[in-house]
Amino acid sequence: MRAMWEFFFGVGWLATLTSYLTITTAILVAGSLVMMLLTWIERRGLGYMQDRKGPNRVGPFGLFQPIAEAIKTITKEDITPTDADRWVHFLAPVVILASTVAAFAVIPWGNLIPVDINVGVLYIVAVSAVHTVGILMAGWASNNKFALLGGMRGVAQAISYEIPQVLSLVSIVMLVGSMSVVDVIQNQMDPYGNILSWHIFTPVGLLSFIVFWIASLAEGERPPFDNPEAESELVAGYMTEYGGMKFAVLFLANYLTNFAICAVTAGVFLGGGNGPGSDIPILGTLLSVFYFLAKSLGLFFVMVWIRGVVPRLRIDELMHFAWKFLLPLALVNIFSTSLWIAIIRWGAEQGMGIAEALGAPGSIARIAVAWVVTAIINVVAFFLVARLNATRGVTTYQATPTAV
Protein backbone atom coordinates (compact mmCIF):
# COMPACT_ATOMS: atom_id res chain seq x y z
CA MET A 1 0.00 0.00 0.00
CA ARG A 2 2.63 2.44 1.12
CA ALA A 3 5.14 1.53 -1.58
CA MET A 4 2.42 1.87 -4.21
CA TRP A 5 1.42 5.32 -3.00
CA GLU A 6 5.02 6.51 -2.89
CA PHE A 7 5.52 5.20 -6.38
CA PHE A 8 2.61 7.25 -7.71
CA PHE A 9 2.73 10.39 -5.62
CA GLY A 10 6.11 10.37 -3.87
CA VAL A 11 4.88 11.98 -0.66
CA GLY A 12 6.21 10.05 2.33
CA TRP A 13 4.13 11.19 5.28
CA LEU A 14 0.96 11.41 3.20
CA ALA A 15 1.53 7.80 2.18
CA THR A 16 1.92 6.74 5.80
CA LEU A 17 -1.19 8.65 6.80
CA THR A 18 -3.26 7.23 3.96
CA SER A 19 -2.16 3.65 4.54
CA TYR A 20 -2.93 3.85 8.24
CA LEU A 21 -6.28 5.50 7.57
CA THR A 22 -7.11 2.67 5.19
CA ILE A 23 -6.17 0.08 7.80
CA THR A 24 -8.22 1.88 10.45
CA THR A 25 -11.26 2.03 8.19
CA ALA A 26 -10.91 -1.65 7.39
CA ILE A 27 -10.69 -2.51 11.08
CA LEU A 28 -13.73 -0.39 11.95
CA VAL A 29 -15.86 -1.80 9.14
CA ALA A 30 -14.81 -5.39 9.78
CA GLY A 31 -15.27 -4.87 13.51
CA SER A 32 -18.82 -3.61 13.12
CA LEU A 33 -19.72 -6.45 10.76
CA VAL A 34 -18.24 -9.01 13.14
CA MET A 35 -20.14 -7.42 16.02
CA MET A 36 -23.42 -7.85 14.11
CA LEU A 37 -22.56 -11.47 13.48
CA LEU A 38 -21.68 -11.96 17.16
CA THR A 39 -25.00 -10.61 18.43
CA TRP A 40 -26.76 -12.92 16.02
CA ILE A 41 -24.68 -15.94 17.12
CA GLU A 42 -25.28 -15.08 20.75
CA ARG A 43 -29.04 -14.70 20.49
CA ARG A 44 -29.61 -17.68 18.25
CA GLY A 45 -27.16 -19.83 20.24
CA LEU A 46 -28.76 -18.91 23.55
CA GLY A 47 -32.16 -19.47 22.00
CA TYR A 48 -31.36 -23.06 21.06
CA MET A 49 -29.73 -23.71 24.46
CA GLN A 50 -32.90 -22.51 26.16
CA ASP A 51 -35.18 -24.49 23.86
CA ARG A 52 -36.63 -21.53 21.97
CA LYS A 53 -35.98 -20.14 18.50
CA GLY A 54 -34.42 -16.74 19.00
CA PRO A 55 -34.74 -13.95 16.40
CA ASN A 56 -35.62 -15.62 13.10
CA ARG A 57 -37.95 -13.17 11.29
CA VAL A 58 -35.71 -10.54 9.65
CA GLY A 59 -33.87 -12.02 6.66
CA PRO A 60 -32.73 -15.63 6.28
CA PHE A 61 -32.35 -17.27 9.73
CA GLY A 62 -32.81 -13.81 11.27
CA LEU A 63 -29.40 -12.72 9.97
CA PHE A 64 -30.57 -9.14 9.31
CA GLN A 65 -31.93 -8.68 12.82
CA PRO A 66 -28.82 -6.66 13.93
CA ILE A 67 -29.39 -4.22 11.03
CA ALA A 68 -32.99 -3.67 12.11
CA GLU A 69 -31.79 -3.08 15.66
CA ALA A 70 -29.14 -0.63 14.46
CA ILE A 71 -31.76 1.41 12.59
CA LYS A 72 -33.96 1.35 15.67
CA THR A 73 -31.22 2.65 18.00
CA ILE A 74 -30.10 5.35 15.55
CA THR A 75 -33.61 6.78 15.30
CA LYS A 76 -34.13 6.82 19.06
CA GLU A 77 -34.01 10.05 21.02
CA ASP A 78 -30.70 10.94 22.64
CA ILE A 79 -31.30 11.61 26.34
CA THR A 80 -28.96 13.03 28.95
CA PRO A 81 -30.31 13.05 32.52
CA THR A 82 -30.78 16.56 33.96
CA ASP A 83 -28.45 16.03 36.88
CA ALA A 84 -25.81 14.16 34.92
CA ASP A 85 -22.36 15.56 34.36
CA ARG A 86 -22.89 16.42 30.69
CA TRP A 87 -19.35 16.17 29.37
CA VAL A 88 -18.25 13.12 31.30
CA HIS A 89 -21.55 11.41 30.47
CA PHE A 90 -20.96 12.14 26.79
CA LEU A 91 -17.28 11.14 26.80
CA ALA A 92 -17.65 7.84 28.65
CA PRO A 93 -18.93 5.77 25.67
CA VAL A 94 -16.27 7.43 23.49
CA VAL A 95 -13.48 6.41 25.87
CA ILE A 96 -14.82 2.88 26.19
CA LEU A 97 -15.20 2.37 22.43
CA ALA A 98 -11.84 4.03 21.65
CA SER A 99 -9.94 1.83 24.08
CA THR A 100 -11.62 -1.24 22.64
CA VAL A 101 -10.97 -0.37 19.02
CA ALA A 102 -7.36 0.59 19.85
CA ALA A 103 -6.65 -3.00 20.84
CA PHE A 104 -7.38 -4.13 17.27
CA ALA A 105 -4.30 -2.23 16.05
CA VAL A 106 -2.05 -5.15 16.97
CA ILE A 107 -4.44 -8.09 16.59
CA PRO A 108 -3.45 -10.06 13.48
CA TRP A 109 -6.23 -11.28 11.23
CA GLY A 110 -4.47 -14.41 10.09
CA ASN A 111 -1.47 -13.25 8.09
CA LEU A 112 -2.87 -9.71 7.81
CA ILE A 113 -1.26 -7.62 10.53
CA PRO A 114 -2.28 -3.97 11.03
CA VAL A 115 0.81 -2.93 13.06
CA ASP A 116 3.60 -5.02 14.53
CA ILE A 117 5.14 -3.29 17.56
CA ASN A 118 7.70 -4.89 19.83
CA VAL A 119 5.51 -4.46 22.91
CA GLY A 120 2.28 -5.70 21.30
CA VAL A 121 1.08 -7.90 24.17
CA LEU A 122 1.69 -5.13 26.70
CA TYR A 123 -0.11 -2.70 24.39
CA ILE A 124 -3.26 -4.83 24.48
CA VAL A 125 -3.08 -4.88 28.28
CA ALA A 126 -2.54 -1.12 28.40
CA VAL A 127 -5.48 -0.12 26.23
CA SER A 128 -7.83 -2.55 27.93
CA ALA A 129 -6.82 -0.96 31.24
CA VAL A 130 -8.14 2.37 29.94
CA HIS A 131 -11.49 0.67 29.44
CA THR A 132 -12.01 0.74 33.23
CA VAL A 133 -11.63 4.54 33.30
CA GLY A 134 -14.49 4.74 30.82
CA ILE A 135 -16.66 2.45 32.96
CA LEU A 136 -16.08 4.61 36.05
CA MET A 137 -16.85 7.74 34.02
CA ALA A 138 -20.13 6.26 32.80
CA GLY A 139 -21.11 5.07 36.25
CA TRP A 140 -20.32 8.32 38.02
CA ALA A 141 -21.51 10.84 35.42
CA SER A 142 -24.99 9.29 35.17
CA ASN A 143 -25.70 10.50 38.73
CA ASN A 144 -27.65 7.37 39.45
CA LYS A 145 -27.05 4.98 42.34
CA PHE A 146 -27.50 1.88 40.19
CA ALA A 147 -25.11 3.21 37.59
CA LEU A 148 -22.53 4.13 40.22
CA LEU A 149 -22.77 0.70 41.85
CA GLY A 150 -22.40 -0.93 38.45
CA GLY A 151 -19.36 1.21 37.67
CA MET A 152 -17.78 0.38 41.03
CA ARG A 153 -18.32 -3.33 40.54
CA GLY A 154 -16.99 -3.13 37.00
CA VAL A 155 -13.82 -1.44 38.14
CA ALA A 156 -13.21 -3.65 41.18
CA GLN A 157 -13.66 -6.69 38.97
CA ALA A 158 -11.60 -5.41 36.06
CA ILE A 159 -8.65 -4.43 38.23
CA SER A 160 -8.68 -7.73 40.12
CA TYR A 161 -8.91 -9.94 37.06
CA GLU A 162 -6.36 -7.90 35.15
CA ILE A 163 -3.63 -9.29 37.43
CA PRO A 164 -4.06 -13.04 36.73
CA GLN A 165 -4.71 -12.15 33.08
CA VAL A 166 -1.40 -10.33 32.72
CA LEU A 167 0.52 -12.88 34.78
CA SER A 168 -0.77 -15.71 32.60
CA LEU A 169 0.45 -13.80 29.55
CA VAL A 170 3.86 -13.44 31.23
CA SER A 171 4.40 -17.20 30.89
CA ILE A 172 3.73 -17.01 27.17
CA VAL A 173 6.02 -13.98 26.79
CA MET A 174 8.72 -15.95 28.61
CA LEU A 175 8.25 -18.92 26.28
CA VAL A 176 8.42 -16.76 23.18
CA GLY A 177 11.07 -14.33 24.39
CA SER A 178 9.29 -11.40 22.77
CA MET A 179 6.20 -9.28 23.36
CA SER A 180 5.41 -8.84 19.68
CA VAL A 181 2.12 -10.53 18.77
CA VAL A 182 3.61 -11.63 15.45
CA ASP A 183 6.50 -13.36 17.24
CA VAL A 184 4.04 -15.07 19.57
CA ILE A 185 2.22 -16.51 16.55
CA GLN A 186 5.44 -17.35 14.72
CA ASN A 187 6.54 -19.34 17.76
CA GLN A 188 3.57 -21.65 17.25
CA MET A 189 4.36 -22.26 13.59
CA ASP A 190 5.62 -25.69 12.79
CA PRO A 191 7.23 -26.35 9.43
CA TYR A 192 5.16 -29.55 9.15
CA GLY A 193 1.84 -27.88 9.93
CA ASN A 194 1.70 -29.75 13.22
CA ILE A 195 -1.01 -28.30 15.46
CA LEU A 196 0.76 -29.72 18.52
CA SER A 197 3.09 -26.72 18.32
CA TRP A 198 0.27 -24.45 19.52
CA HIS A 199 0.85 -23.10 22.99
CA ILE A 200 -2.29 -24.68 24.36
CA PHE A 201 -0.82 -28.16 23.83
CA THR A 202 1.92 -27.74 26.44
CA PRO A 203 1.22 -28.09 30.17
CA VAL A 204 2.44 -24.54 30.74
CA GLY A 205 0.35 -23.12 27.91
CA LEU A 206 -2.75 -25.05 28.96
CA LEU A 207 -2.79 -23.67 32.50
CA SER A 208 -1.98 -20.24 31.13
CA PHE A 209 -4.90 -20.59 28.71
CA ILE A 210 -7.33 -21.59 31.47
CA VAL A 211 -6.34 -18.65 33.67
CA PHE A 212 -6.28 -16.20 30.78
CA TRP A 213 -9.62 -17.30 29.40
CA ILE A 214 -11.45 -17.10 32.74
CA ALA A 215 -9.84 -13.76 33.62
CA SER A 216 -10.70 -12.43 30.16
CA LEU A 217 -14.35 -13.43 30.57
CA ALA A 218 -14.36 -11.28 33.70
CA GLU A 219 -12.55 -8.44 31.92
CA GLY A 220 -15.10 -8.47 29.12
CA GLU A 221 -17.96 -8.67 31.63
CA ARG A 222 -19.26 -11.85 30.16
CA PRO A 223 -21.59 -14.04 32.19
CA PRO A 224 -20.97 -15.57 34.73
CA PHE A 225 -18.94 -12.45 35.56
CA ASP A 226 -21.47 -9.83 34.41
CA ASN A 227 -22.03 -8.33 37.87
CA PRO A 228 -21.42 -4.73 36.64
CA GLU A 229 -24.65 -4.91 34.63
CA ALA A 230 -26.51 -7.54 36.62
CA GLU A 231 -30.04 -6.98 35.28
CA SER A 232 -31.81 -8.47 38.26
CA GLU A 233 -30.04 -6.21 40.75
CA LEU A 234 -28.81 -3.06 39.01
CA VAL A 235 -31.18 -2.48 36.05
CA ALA A 236 -28.28 -2.32 33.55
CA GLY A 237 -25.38 -1.20 35.75
CA TYR A 238 -23.33 1.66 34.40
CA MET A 239 -25.35 1.64 31.15
CA THR A 240 -28.63 2.43 32.92
CA GLU A 241 -28.78 6.11 31.96
CA TYR A 242 -27.71 5.64 28.36
CA GLY A 243 -30.16 5.48 25.51
CA GLY A 244 -30.26 5.57 21.75
CA MET A 245 -26.96 5.83 19.95
CA LYS A 246 -24.86 6.11 23.12
CA PHE A 247 -26.24 2.82 24.36
CA ALA A 248 -25.55 1.35 20.93
CA VAL A 249 -21.93 2.52 21.22
CA LEU A 250 -21.58 0.90 24.64
CA PHE A 251 -23.15 -2.27 23.27
CA LEU A 252 -20.81 -2.23 20.27
CA ALA A 253 -17.81 -1.74 22.57
CA ASN A 254 -18.97 -4.65 24.68
CA TYR A 255 -19.13 -7.06 21.77
CA LEU A 256 -15.91 -5.74 20.24
CA THR A 257 -14.19 -6.40 23.58
CA ASN A 258 -15.52 -9.93 23.52
CA PHE A 259 -14.30 -10.41 19.98
CA ALA A 260 -10.89 -8.92 20.88
CA ILE A 261 -10.64 -11.41 23.74
CA CYS A 262 -11.46 -14.29 21.41
CA ALA A 263 -9.01 -13.01 18.79
CA VAL A 264 -6.18 -12.56 21.30
CA THR A 265 -6.83 -15.99 22.79
CA ALA A 266 -6.87 -17.54 19.32
CA GLY A 267 -3.62 -15.75 18.46
CA VAL A 268 -1.72 -16.39 21.67
CA PHE A 269 -2.82 -19.94 22.43
CA LEU A 270 -4.33 -21.43 19.28
CA GLY A 271 -1.79 -20.36 16.69
CA GLY A 272 -3.73 -17.44 15.16
CA GLY A 273 -4.17 -18.02 11.44
CA ASN A 274 -2.00 -21.12 11.38
CA GLY A 275 -3.47 -24.14 9.72
CA PRO A 276 -2.91 -26.43 6.76
CA GLY A 277 -1.89 -24.37 3.75
CA SER A 278 -1.67 -21.01 5.48
CA ASP A 279 1.87 -20.42 4.16
CA ILE A 280 0.94 -20.51 0.45
CA PRO A 281 1.57 -16.98 -0.96
CA ILE A 282 -1.87 -15.48 -1.75
CA LEU A 283 -4.39 -18.23 -1.18
CA GLY A 284 -2.70 -18.88 2.18
CA THR A 285 -3.54 -15.39 3.39
CA LEU A 286 -7.22 -15.95 2.65
CA LEU A 287 -7.01 -19.35 4.31
CA SER A 288 -5.31 -17.85 7.36
CA VAL A 289 -8.05 -15.22 7.72
CA PHE A 290 -10.55 -18.05 7.50
CA TYR A 291 -8.73 -20.09 10.17
CA PHE A 292 -8.41 -17.04 12.39
CA LEU A 293 -12.12 -16.23 12.14
CA ALA A 294 -13.06 -19.87 12.64
CA LYS A 295 -10.98 -20.09 15.82
CA SER A 296 -12.19 -16.75 17.15
CA LEU A 297 -15.86 -17.42 16.45
CA GLY A 298 -15.47 -20.90 17.90
CA LEU A 299 -14.16 -19.33 21.09
CA PHE A 300 -17.05 -16.88 21.03
CA PHE A 301 -19.44 -19.80 20.80
CA VAL A 302 -17.77 -21.19 23.94
CA MET A 303 -18.52 -17.84 25.58
CA VAL A 304 -22.19 -18.11 24.63
CA TRP A 305 -22.21 -21.68 25.85
CA ILE A 306 -20.81 -20.64 29.24
CA ARG A 307 -23.45 -17.91 29.41
CA GLY A 308 -26.17 -20.43 28.79
CA VAL A 309 -24.92 -22.86 31.43
CA VAL A 310 -23.27 -21.09 34.37
CA PRO A 311 -25.22 -18.84 36.78
CA ARG A 312 -23.86 -15.46 37.83
CA LEU A 313 -21.37 -15.34 40.71
CA ARG A 314 -21.95 -13.31 43.84
CA ILE A 315 -19.60 -10.31 43.98
CA ASP A 316 -17.49 -11.55 46.92
CA GLU A 317 -17.19 -15.04 45.41
CA LEU A 318 -16.04 -13.37 42.24
CA MET A 319 -13.28 -11.46 44.05
CA HIS A 320 -12.18 -14.54 46.01
CA PHE A 321 -11.98 -16.49 42.79
CA ALA A 322 -9.59 -13.97 41.23
CA TRP A 323 -7.31 -13.48 44.21
CA LYS A 324 -7.32 -16.91 45.81
CA PHE A 325 -7.62 -19.22 42.83
CA LEU A 326 -6.45 -17.66 39.58
CA LEU A 327 -3.60 -15.56 40.95
CA PRO A 328 -1.74 -18.43 42.72
CA LEU A 329 -2.19 -20.61 39.66
CA ALA A 330 -0.74 -17.91 37.40
CA LEU A 331 2.26 -17.52 39.72
CA VAL A 332 2.88 -21.29 39.83
CA ASN A 333 2.64 -21.31 36.07
CA ILE A 334 5.38 -18.68 35.77
CA PHE A 335 7.57 -20.94 37.91
CA SER A 336 6.93 -24.00 35.78
CA THR A 337 7.50 -21.95 32.62
CA SER A 338 10.98 -21.08 33.80
CA LEU A 339 11.61 -24.76 34.55
CA TRP A 340 10.34 -25.63 31.05
CA ILE A 341 12.72 -23.13 29.47
CA ALA A 342 15.63 -24.22 31.68
CA ILE A 343 15.18 -27.91 30.93
CA ILE A 344 14.63 -27.54 27.19
CA ARG A 345 16.91 -24.70 26.14
CA TRP A 346 19.65 -24.12 28.69
CA GLY A 347 23.06 -25.77 28.75
CA ALA A 348 26.14 -25.76 30.97
CA GLU A 349 26.63 -22.05 30.23
CA GLN A 350 23.51 -21.07 32.17
CA GLY A 351 24.23 -23.52 34.99
CA MET A 352 22.09 -26.36 33.67
CA GLY A 353 24.90 -28.83 33.10
CA ILE A 354 22.68 -31.67 34.33
CA ALA A 355 20.32 -31.17 31.40
CA GLU A 356 23.20 -31.83 28.98
CA ALA A 357 22.95 -35.49 29.91
CA LEU A 358 19.56 -35.61 28.17
CA GLY A 359 20.98 -34.42 24.87
CA ALA A 360 21.33 -31.16 22.97
CA PRO A 361 18.94 -28.25 23.68
CA GLY A 362 15.57 -28.92 22.07
CA SER A 363 16.03 -32.68 21.83
CA ILE A 364 13.08 -35.05 22.24
CA ALA A 365 14.32 -36.40 25.59
CA ARG A 366 14.56 -32.91 27.05
CA ILE A 367 11.10 -31.97 25.84
CA ALA A 368 9.70 -35.18 27.34
CA VAL A 369 11.28 -34.48 30.73
CA ALA A 370 10.09 -30.86 30.69
CA TRP A 371 6.58 -32.06 29.79
CA VAL A 372 6.42 -34.49 32.71
CA VAL A 373 7.92 -32.08 35.27
CA THR A 374 5.74 -29.07 34.40
CA ALA A 375 2.62 -31.22 34.00
CA ILE A 376 3.10 -32.66 37.50
CA ILE A 377 3.72 -29.22 39.03
CA ASN A 378 0.71 -27.64 37.33
CA VAL A 379 -1.74 -30.45 38.06
CA VAL A 380 -0.65 -30.66 41.71
CA ALA A 381 -0.90 -26.88 42.05
CA PHE A 382 -4.37 -26.86 40.49
CA PHE A 383 -5.79 -29.44 42.88
CA LEU A 384 -3.95 -28.01 45.88
CA VAL A 385 -5.30 -24.50 45.30
CA ALA A 386 -8.78 -25.85 44.60
CA ARG A 387 -8.67 -27.90 47.81
CA LEU A 388 -7.42 -25.02 49.94
CA ASN A 389 -10.21 -22.84 48.58
CA ALA A 390 -12.82 -25.51 49.18
CA THR A 391 -11.89 -26.06 52.82
CA ARG A 392 -11.07 -22.53 53.96
CA GLY A 393 -13.15 -20.36 51.68
CA VAL A 394 -16.57 -21.21 53.10
CA THR A 395 -15.84 -20.27 56.70
CA THR A 396 -14.36 -16.87 55.84
CA TYR A 397 -17.45 -15.99 53.77
CA GLN A 398 -19.72 -16.21 56.79
CA ALA A 399 -17.30 -14.54 59.20
CA THR A 400 -16.69 -11.40 57.16
CA PRO A 401 -19.29 -10.58 54.55
CA THR A 402 -17.78 -7.96 52.26
CA ALA A 403 -20.02 -5.28 50.87
CA VAL A 404 -19.35 -3.81 47.48
Partner: protein
Protein backbone atom coordinates in the same frame (compact mmCIF):
# COMPACT_ATOMS: atom_id res chain seq x y z
CA UNK B 1 6.86 16.49 11.42
CA UNK B 2 8.20 15.09 14.68
CA UNK B 3 8.63 18.57 16.12
CA UNK B 4 5.04 19.50 15.27
CA UNK B 5 3.84 16.30 16.88
CA UNK B 6 5.95 17.00 19.95
CA UNK B 7 4.61 20.55 20.32
CA UNK B 8 0.98 19.42 20.05
CA UNK B 9 1.52 16.64 22.59
CA UNK B 10 3.45 18.88 24.96
CA UNK B 11 0.77 21.59 24.85
CA UNK B 12 -1.91 18.97 25.46
CA UNK B 13 0.02 17.54 28.40
CA UNK B 14 0.65 20.92 30.02
CA UNK B 15 -2.92 22.04 29.34
CA UNK B 16 -4.26 18.89 30.98
CA UNK B 17 -2.00 19.44 34.00
CA UNK B 18 -3.14 23.06 34.39
CA UNK B 19 -6.79 22.06 34.00
CA UNK B 20 -6.28 19.35 36.60
CA UNK B 21 -5.06 21.90 39.15
CA UNK B 22 -7.74 24.48 38.29
CA UNK B 23 -10.86 22.33 38.14
CA UNK B 24 -13.05 22.37 41.26
CA UNK B 25 -14.47 18.89 40.89
CA UNK B 26 -12.15 16.14 42.14
CA UNK B 27 -13.39 13.67 39.53
CA UNK B 28 -12.70 16.15 36.73
CA UNK B 29 -9.22 16.71 38.16
CA UNK B 30 -8.54 12.99 38.14
CA UNK B 31 -9.77 12.69 34.55
CA UNK B 32 -7.54 15.57 33.44
CA UNK B 33 -4.66 13.79 35.13
CA UNK B 34 -5.44 10.66 33.09
CA UNK B 35 -5.18 12.79 29.94
CA UNK B 36 -1.90 14.19 31.23
CA UNK B 37 -0.52 10.67 31.72
CA UNK B 38 -1.50 9.86 28.16
CA UNK B 39 0.40 12.89 26.92
CA UNK B 40 3.47 11.77 28.85
CA UNK B 41 3.11 8.28 27.40
CA UNK B 42 3.08 9.73 23.88
CA UNK B 43 6.21 11.73 24.75
CA UNK B 44 7.88 8.47 25.79
CA UNK B 45 6.88 7.00 22.44
CA UNK B 46 8.51 9.95 20.69
CA UNK B 47 11.68 9.15 22.67
CA UNK B 48 11.68 5.59 21.27
CA UNK B 49 10.65 4.05 24.58
CA UNK B 50 7.49 2.06 23.74
CA UNK B 51 7.84 -0.20 26.77
CA UNK B 52 7.93 2.73 29.15
CA UNK B 53 4.96 4.32 27.38
CA UNK B 54 2.84 1.18 27.70
CA UNK B 55 3.78 0.73 31.36
CA UNK B 56 2.89 4.38 31.94
CA UNK B 57 -0.59 3.79 30.51
CA UNK B 58 -1.16 0.44 32.24
CA UNK B 59 0.07 1.43 35.67
CA UNK B 60 -0.74 5.12 35.93
CA UNK B 61 -3.71 5.77 33.64
CA UNK B 62 -5.14 2.28 34.02
CA UNK B 63 -4.56 1.24 37.61
CA UNK B 64 -3.50 4.07 39.89
CA UNK B 65 -5.86 6.71 38.54
CA UNK B 66 -8.71 4.24 38.53
CA UNK B 67 -8.07 3.59 42.22
CA UNK B 68 -8.00 7.36 42.84
CA UNK B 69 -11.32 7.75 41.04
CA UNK B 70 -12.69 4.75 42.87
CA UNK B 71 -11.91 6.25 46.27
CA UNK B 72 -13.22 9.70 45.31
CA UNK B 73 -16.49 8.23 44.09
CA UNK B 74 -16.81 5.81 47.00
CA UNK B 75 -16.48 8.62 49.53
CA UNK B 76 -18.66 10.94 47.43
CA UNK B 77 -16.16 13.74 47.98
CA UNK B 78 -16.17 15.19 44.48
CA UNK B 79 -16.86 18.72 45.68
CA UNK B 80 -14.13 19.68 48.12
CA UNK B 81 -15.27 22.21 50.74
CA UNK B 82 -13.77 25.69 50.55
CA UNK B 83 -11.64 25.65 53.65
CA UNK B 84 -8.91 27.96 54.92
CA UNK B 85 -5.39 27.18 53.86
CA UNK B 86 -4.05 24.92 56.60
CA UNK B 87 -0.46 25.27 55.45
CA UNK B 88 0.19 29.01 55.01
CA UNK B 89 3.96 28.58 54.71
CA UNK B 90 3.44 26.29 51.71
CA UNK B 91 2.72 29.01 49.15
CA UNK B 92 6.05 30.92 49.32
CA UNK B 93 8.03 27.69 49.52
CA UNK B 94 6.21 26.35 46.47
CA UNK B 95 6.90 29.58 44.58
CA UNK B 96 10.62 29.43 45.36
CA UNK B 97 10.84 25.76 44.42
CA UNK B 98 8.96 26.33 41.18
CA UNK B 99 11.24 29.21 40.28
CA UNK B 100 14.26 27.03 41.02
CA UNK B 101 12.92 24.35 38.71
CA UNK B 102 12.40 26.85 35.90
CA UNK B 103 15.96 28.17 36.36
CA UNK B 104 17.39 24.66 36.32
CA UNK B 105 15.41 23.72 33.22
CA UNK B 106 16.51 26.93 31.51
CA UNK B 107 20.13 26.24 32.41
CA UNK B 108 19.94 22.73 31.05
CA UNK B 109 18.31 24.03 27.89
CA UNK B 110 20.70 26.91 27.12
CA UNK B 111 23.98 25.46 28.43
CA UNK B 112 23.85 21.84 27.39
CA UNK B 113 26.78 19.75 28.61
CA UNK B 114 28.44 17.07 26.53
CA UNK B 115 25.96 14.27 25.99
CA UNK B 116 26.85 10.92 27.52
CA UNK B 117 27.98 8.61 24.74
CA UNK B 118 25.98 5.41 24.49
CA UNK B 119 26.88 2.24 22.72
CA UNK B 120 23.31 1.53 21.62
CA UNK B 121 21.42 3.30 18.91
CA UNK B 122 18.40 5.30 20.12
CA UNK B 123 16.08 2.64 18.75
CA UNK B 124 17.58 -0.02 20.97
CA UNK B 125 17.69 1.80 24.29
CA UNK B 126 13.98 1.57 24.97
CA UNK B 127 13.63 -2.06 23.85
CA UNK B 128 12.18 -4.27 26.60
CA UNK B 129 15.04 -6.80 26.69
CA UNK B 130 17.75 -4.14 26.95
CA UNK B 131 15.78 -2.32 29.63
CA UNK B 132 15.39 -5.57 31.56
CA UNK B 133 19.07 -6.41 31.29
CA UNK B 134 20.04 -2.97 32.61
CA UNK B 135 17.49 -3.20 35.40
CA UNK B 136 18.77 -6.55 36.61
CA UNK B 137 22.49 -5.78 36.31
CA UNK B 138 23.56 -2.12 36.51
CA UNK B 139 20.53 -0.88 38.43
CA UNK B 140 19.89 -4.00 40.50
CA UNK B 141 20.20 -2.27 43.87
CA UNK B 142 17.70 0.56 43.20
CA UNK B 143 15.39 -2.00 41.65
CA UNK B 144 15.50 -4.26 44.71
CA UNK B 145 15.07 -1.31 47.07
CA UNK B 146 11.99 -0.24 45.14
CA UNK B 147 10.52 -3.72 45.32
CA UNK B 148 11.16 -3.86 49.09
CA UNK B 149 9.42 -0.50 49.39
CA UNK B 150 6.39 -1.80 47.51
CA UNK B 151 6.39 -4.97 49.60
CA UNK B 152 6.38 -2.90 52.79
CA UNK B 153 3.40 -0.92 51.51
CA UNK B 154 1.63 -4.17 50.68
CA UNK B 155 2.26 -5.63 54.12
CA UNK B 156 1.08 -2.35 55.62
CA UNK B 157 -2.22 -2.62 53.77
CA UNK B 158 -2.68 -6.22 54.92
CA UNK B 159 -1.88 -5.30 58.53
CA UNK B 160 -4.41 -2.46 58.47
CA UNK B 161 -7.22 -4.78 57.35
CA UNK B 162 -6.19 -7.49 59.84
CA UNK B 163 -6.51 -5.11 62.79
CA UNK B 164 -10.00 -3.98 61.91
CA UNK B 165 -11.06 -7.60 61.49
CA UNK B 166 -9.84 -8.57 64.98
CA UNK B 167 -11.57 -5.50 66.39
CA UNK B 168 -14.87 -6.72 64.95
CA UNK B 169 -14.62 -10.03 66.72
CA UNK B 170 -13.88 -8.48 70.15
Amino acid sequence: MEIAFFIITALLTIGAAVAMVLSHNAVHSALWLVLNFFGVAVLYLLLNAPFLAMVQITVYAGAIMVLFLFVIMLLGSEQGQEEVNGLPWQTPVALVMGLLLVVMAGYALFFPGTPVPTTQTPNEIGAPDILARKLFSTYLLPFEITSVLLLVALIGAVVLTMKSREGDRV
